[in-house]
Amino acid sequence: MSQRPVLDIRGLTLALPALADRPYAVSGLDLAIAPGELLCVVGESGSGKSMAAHAVMGLLPRAVKPVAGQVLLNGRDLLALDDAAMRDVRGREVGMIFQEPMTSLNPVMRVGDQIAETLEAHRIGDGASRMRRAVELMTEVGLPDPARMARAFPHQLSGGQRQRVMIAMALALQPKLLIADEPTTALDVTTQAQILKLVDALRRDHGTAVLFITHDFGVVAEIADRIAVLQHGVVVEQGPADAVLGDPRHDYTRRLLAAVPSLTPPPPRPRAEGEPVLSVKGLGKIYQRRSLFGAGRVVQAASDVSFSIARGETLGLVGESGSGKSTVGRCCLRLIEPDAGEIRIDELDITALSARAFRPHRKRIQMVFQDPFASLNPRRTVGRIIAEGPVAQGVEPKAALERARELLALVGLTPGAIDRYPHEFSGGQRQRIGIARALALDPEILVADEAVSALDVSVQAQILDLIQDLKKRLGLAILFVTHDLRVAAQICDRIAVMQRGEIVEMGDTATLFAAPKHPYTQQLLAAVPGARRLKAP
């Protein structure tokens, strides 16, 4: 390290409250960041990476206490500062941006005022000059029409714009250190690319040191100068980005890297060109806000969407948030009633059936949901959750429970899990339960709606393997809805790209990735982080 580090964390140990699952959030943490350097702290959920960042800022939850070590900012130990001195450090010497741009801004305060507030907190300038500075900052972070936008409230901004506001706020006093805690996780891939670019540019322009917390190796590969890999509160590997990515030393790092899906699709698998089992024709869905007087706002969530899937085939439906991909997925199960078009399972037009008449046919098409926490009823045992479907379709409860045992084994869980409640399982295990539930009805079609998006990368890889395996064994047709192009590349046979309710491009995965035709597809692919440095495993 050539220069004296801006931030130098030495032997930091954070104690967790007595009832937590481990004694320390982080222990013996050593990190250092030089001016203008970007250090990525990467780890899976629960690794303690966020706690470390909060400790620097002095924003630890009350229950978490630093018990050993130092946090030296330009040589001064922040842990030794009193409240007032620490307050002065915040905003002035260290800026911070958070994961959720939706909730990280005060909803009832104009964004200009919120930026100016950083200046006010450190008694810089007067009202007018602060406002001028806020507008300047907004210009600098690339917000359009900053003078007008300064008067806007957070809800009037898009997610990316809000994150830019957060950055403007954090950089208002040109702090020497910027802490970014998963700043792009909640953003779409194209927006993420822009924000990453912005962070990169700013630290180059101002020589700001950046502590960047993330779980996403794509992002790491895109932006990091150096990398620290955190596992269970301990740094297992630390070094220059190229070294860690190219030649991981620690087993855990290797495993993590191996789990990151490659953007290069595997060679096309041979598959039977059978009759399509699910065919969608001219599907349309319009969301309209009802109001007493006249029409409200209209959102075209799906417009003239057509595709079909054959047995044993996986069709990926990719797009950014609001593209309508989830709407289309849910329309196929009539969780959302489409306004136009038809959906056929084999020859059966399910849109023509009444809700009651469709019920017996529901077993043919099943769904795996995104959120492993929200998709299982917390008040029912795993066995009942899985058996519910067969019971509803007329199977004897006893037989259904027996079958549930087999299914649990099929998805890689012990049959003993049957009497336990969902909260006793980890996220990955829950997703397996969710899959078991979907399979309980022996469906022909599976709709997977962002089925692996909420999972840590290593778990994600396992679930993807499971889905692949099941597809092969059971000959399922899968509609795989995802925003993650890496995942799509690995699992889908064909891919349909959606934008603003329409399919803009559809084709074989390999072809589409190799030679995207539509500009939007090109834009999406270009925005995937880490393409440069992350090689196929």
């Binding site: 009832l19 959920s45 629960g46 966020s50 849910r330 199960l333 969780l335 019920r359 017996p360 529901r362 077993k363 098409i365 099943q366 769904m367 949901f369 995104q370 959120d371 929200a374 998709s375 299982l376 009823n377 917390p378 008040r379 029912r380 959750i385 519910e388 479907g389 509803a392 379709q393 969710g434 539930r437 979907a438 309980a440 009805l441």
Partner: protein, 278 residues
């Protein structure tokens, strides 16, 4: 942390629970402690409290034992509190669940009705209902139930509205469960926690409401309730304070206990506070 330990971590809630258990004990053991009717005129009127052992809390205007009235009143007040809350729940929960689950015009219609009942000043409505139906324990319970269900309906509707979009409810739809079954097995069980919290506070308000009605002379004339005792003794506050003081304290303690327990339940059951985030 489990439910019990979270509840126990709240000192106020524990105090409330102890109080409540004591009250319930009084309610259960009442007839054993004071086997004769609390309406019996057993001693000289206006016997001061803490003077004789037999009438620890003194006697009232007619020479009735205040302590006996208090103990028997516990049963009635608690009974009225719980039953009228039950009535409110029986009206409010199904309405709220239907409105929240089905949405659309059903929601609109049911919410208009709820709004309608919220627009009539509730205490005034309770008074009129009791006057119309003539004061009796049934009319009082019904009146309290009728004026207190709208918040229940709103709460349940809100909960159901958010639960309806939960993925496990969607999952239940996709496996073909019937709507009624989904409401009863997937949705309602998950609204139990906030309903319990609200109900505990409603029992408290019902007891207060009953005492206010009794105070206005709209109580059941054959039942010894705390509100009746306060109302009957209020003109003698100056020289026979104990007649209405003790029942007043009883109301206060009960309402306090229920509120403390309600808060404790809220803390212990509220998933927002207990679900940790990284």
């Amino acid at each position: 942390m489990g439910f019990m330990s979270r509840f126990a971590a709240n000192k106020g809630a524990l105090v409330g629970l102890v109080l409540l258990i004591a009250l319930l004990a009084f309610a259960v053991l009442g007839p054993w402690l004071y086997p004769t009717s609390p309406w019996r005129m057993v001693a000289r009127p206006f016997t001061a409290p803490f003077v004789t052992d037999r009438f620890l809390l003194g006697t009232d205007t007619l020479g009735r034992d205040v302590a006996a009235g208090l103990v028997h009143g516990t049963r009635i007040s608690i009974l009225i509190g719980f039953v009228s809350t039950l009535v409110a729940l029986l009206i409010g929960v199904p309405l709220g669940a239907l409105a929240g689950y089905f949405g659309g015009w059903i929601d609109d219609a049911l919410m208009r009705i709820t709004e309608f009942f919220q627009t009539i000043p509730s205490f005034a409505l309770a008074i009129v209902l009791v006057a119309v139906l003539q004061p009796s324990i049934y009319s009082i319970v019904l009146a309290i139930g009728i004026v207190s269900w709208p918040p229940v309906a709103r709460l349940v509707r809100g909960e159901v509205l958010s639960l309806r979009t939960r993925e496990y409810v969607q999952a239940a739809i996709t496996v073909g469960q019937s709507t009624l079954r989904i409401i009863f097995s997937q949705v309602l069980p998950n609204t139990v926690a906030p309903i319990i919290v609200m109900a505990s506070l409603m029992v408290a308000s019902a007891i207060l409401l009953e005492s206010s009605l009794s105070f206005l002379g709209l109580g059941d004339p054959n039942l010894m309730t705390w509100g009746y005792m306060v109302g009957a003794g209020r003109t003698r506050l100056m020289d026979a304070w104990w007649i209405s003081f003790f029942p007043g304290v009883a109301i206060f303690l009960t309402v306090l206990a229920l509120n403390l327990v309600g808060e404790g339940l809220n803390d212990a059951l509220n998933p927002r506070l207990s679900r940790g985030r990284e």
